[in-house]
């Protein structure tokens, strides 16, 4: 079976671990537990007729590109940039993390997830910032690890892109 490594990149407490838990185990908890180092989870998905084992690298939060270890990124076929929609600064952080990831991995597929979409009354990212990112041709998906909104779509969309690249 094909195995593909995906890295979760973003600042601390943006919901990377919660997104993985929601996708792999369909579990969500409000309590925040910081991630140290890296935790790797597996999930088998089917895209079209092809089954793929996804290896989800849940990395500890990185504020700057210098915090992000290249050794963790090595061998990744794609990555998910995660920002917390209620903390605008986390969006700026993923912009620099993306540069680091592309520098290490080359042009592999990635998506930007604006997480915590259930907290709309605290939302800080406005349409102007969203359209500025969309102009970069990045695909953005609003997600909520709490409600599950967009989570499945995010992982499967990235898998599709990775498989397109894999199948050449």
């Amino acid at each position: 079976m094909i195995q593909k490594k995906i890295c979760m990149l973003g600042s601390f407490a943006v919901g990377k671990t919660s997104l993985v838990r929601r996708f792999v185990e369909s579990i969500y908890t409000d309590k925040y537990h910081t991630t140290v180092g890296v935790k790797v989870d597996k999930k088998i998905v089917k895209v079209g007729e092809q089954e793929t084992t996804l290896l989800l690298w849940d990395l500890e939060g990185s504020e700057t590109e210098h915090d992000l270890r290249k050794s963790y990124l090595r061998g990744a076929s794609g990555y998910l940039l995660v920002a917390d929609g209620t903390r605008k600064d986390t969006l700026y952080h993923v912009l620099s993390l993306q540069s680091r990831a592309e520098e290490t991995l080359g042009p592999v597929p990635f998506l930007l997830l604006l997480n915590k979409s259930d907290l709309t009354d605290m939302w800080e990212i406005d349409d102007r910032e969203r359209s500025a990112i969309e102009q970069k041709k990045w695909k953005i998906i609003d997600t909520s690890a709490k409600t599950g909104q967009g989570v499945e779509d995010a992982f499967l969309s990235l898998t599709e892109k990775m498989m397109e690249k894999h199948n050449g």
Binding site: Y32, T34, V40, S77, T86
Partner: protein, 289 residues
């Protein structure tokens, strides 16, 4: 490597075994397992088979092999609450993967990091609440400003209305004073009556013209029916504004013809005021009488 005596080397080896639980795997360039050993089970790694793909048993190695020279993956969680620092280095026989226990270090760091991030999140929440309060305060200040402006306009308008009211009141007082002078001058008879023909006020000139006294007026003897029996319908004169000749009956039942006109009483629209002049006598006589 430092030139260490045998006992020191042996002590270090023992210390490493106790504290770091070393474990290793040797993997070929195509990812097949060649050899393994050490405390692999303490990292949750088991069921390894020679010549099988190492990634099937150790997921975190997928995509990493072969390494060019060397690489380190700090604090990889290999099992629940178990962390390892993973070192990968290449030699002629293949890629060596060395795992050294980092659980204690990871837990200490996790505790410290948790406190730091909790505080940072709390600070972000407070900042957000501060911004929300600031926005609410700004909106409130704007509203107060608008209402103050509206209030100021209302005060100015009320002051203007008050000034106009005072002017009107003053004009009314002056008008009443002038009319009171006319009423009391007795140059003509002036009488107040209601729609039922009740006469409730008159000046001396009117009483004198009809031969009544002020006591008669107070006791209600002076009524429209008494003084104008021919045109006793009060309604017929209520709307009469032009001066016309009107015949009245005096108290001694003699008749007197007077020039008479009425007008509505401004402060009491249901009532009317009548003006009577005896054209048969010179005014000077009326005034003096």
């Amino acid at each position: 490597m430092a030139d260490l005596p045998g006992p020191i080397r042996e002590f270090i080896d023992a210390l490493t075994d106790d504290l770091l639980a070393p474990a290793f795997m040797l993997v070929s360039d195509d990812g097949r397992l060649i050899d393994w050993g050490g405390a692999l089970s303490s990292y949750g790694i088991s069921g390894l088979e020679e010549n099988t793909q190492v990634g099937n048993h150790v997921p975190f190695l997928v995509g990493l092999l072969p390494v060019d020279s060397g690489s380190v993956l700090p604090k990889v969680q290999t099992a629940a609450q178990v962390f390892a620092d993973v070192y990968l280095f290449r030699r002629r026989e293949g890629t060596w993967i060395l795992l050294l226990d980092a659980t204690d270090d990871a837990k200490k760091r996790q505790a410290l990091q948790q406190r730091t991030y909790d505080m940072a999140l709390r600070a972000a929440e407070l900042e957000h609440e501060g911004r929300t309060l600031y926005d609410a305060n700004s909106r409130l200040a704007e509203r107060v400003k608008e209402q103050t402006s509206e209030l100021s306009e209302t005060v100015v308008r009320l002051q203007q209305e008050l000034a106009e009211g005072r002017q009107r009141e003053q004009a009314l007082i002056e008008s009443e004073t002038r009319f009171r002078s006319l009423f009391e001058s007795n140059v003509m008879g002036i009488v107040y009556f209601d729609s039922d023909g009740n006469i409730f006020e008159s000046n001396d000139a009117f009483l004198q013209l009809l031969g009544y006294s002020r006591d008669d007026l107070k006791q209600g003897f002076l009524t429209w029916k008494q003084i104008a029996p021919i045109t006793s319908e009060v309604g017929s004169i209520k709307t009469e504004k032009t001066l016309r000749q009107q015949e009245f009956t005096r108290k001694d039942q003699s008749r007197i013809s007077l020039l008479f006109a009425t007008a509505p009483q401004i402060e009491a629209p249901g009532n009317r005021i009548g003006f009577a002049i005896d054209f048969s006598q010179p005014k000077s006589t009326q005034a003096s009488s």
